[in-house]
Symmetry: C2
Subunit: 181 residues, 2 copies
Amino acid sequence: MTEEKNVQEETLPTEAVTAEAPVDSEPIDIDGDGLETKVAELEESLQASEEKYLRLYAEFENYKKRTRTELETEKTYRSQAVLRDIIPTLDNIERALSQTSADASLTKGVQMVYDNLISALTEHGLEKIEAQDQPFDPNFHQAVMQEKDESKDSGIVLEELQKGYKLKERVLRPSMVKVNE
Amino acid sequence: MTEEKNVQEETLPTEAVTAEAPVDSEPIDIDGDGLETKVAELEESLQASEEKYLRLYAEFENYKKRTRTELETEKTYRSQAVLRDIIPTLDNIERALSQTSADASLTKGVQMVYDNLISALTEHGLEKIEAQDQPFDPNFHQAVMQEKDESKDSGIVLEELQKGYKLKERVLRPSMVKVNE
């Protein structure tokens, strides 16, 4: 028994050894398969990460382009609101100047005010819309009257009833006009 | 020698075998090593890619914050330039109104022009700088004269010589003042 036991004890280590060999190489095999899986997973993750980066990059570029345009537009038309709100003041000064006055000094002063104001506003892009004798353009003119003048072409602005103004291509106020039928 | 050779030859296979075991497992080992290297490389690349993404993300966020601030500032102070350039017109109208005129109608008209203009500009943020009887503030006032008035505190604005204006916290033109010594 002791011998059997001894044999068993002898074989056990042998079994243990043969068992150990596969066990020893098994981690390598498993490692091999595991590593291949890991490589595949990592390659997938890397690709996903690179794609995520490229999407963000594209989004960033679009954002830059959009905000640059927004900021440029904002700067181009920055004076729009204040210019539009000053137009009635121009009307008022013109009305005051259109009346003959006994006070030549005051009239001269008001004329100077008007000239300086127009000059300052022009600096900031204010532009009078051409109307008189121009072909009627619904983008810039508002027809409030019609008349028939045989001596002129049809659709021509016969009279400007109220001045119109624009800032670059934006209309601040259309010209009020009388159009030839 | 032959025995030696034999021994050598005997030992060679043994060596070969012992060498072969590693050789047999070597492709696995090389694969294993190759895969492990590959895994390490991929992990490094993945980390680098993620870090690249995070840097871009942070840059994008900063850019957003910066342009948002820039756009807000631009909008807040959009009227600054045109308001500043209209201030002399206000001076001119005030000067015209300060003179007594024989033409009450024109004077009334000019007063209306002035009121409407001030109202429009105020809508766009124009604000008169308080000066009279205020403590002198070099951020808003420009001292052009000094006087000694014992009845008032030192450093108090005794007289506003020319109106000053601001837009929010930005000075468009400082008040010209006479200060108490």
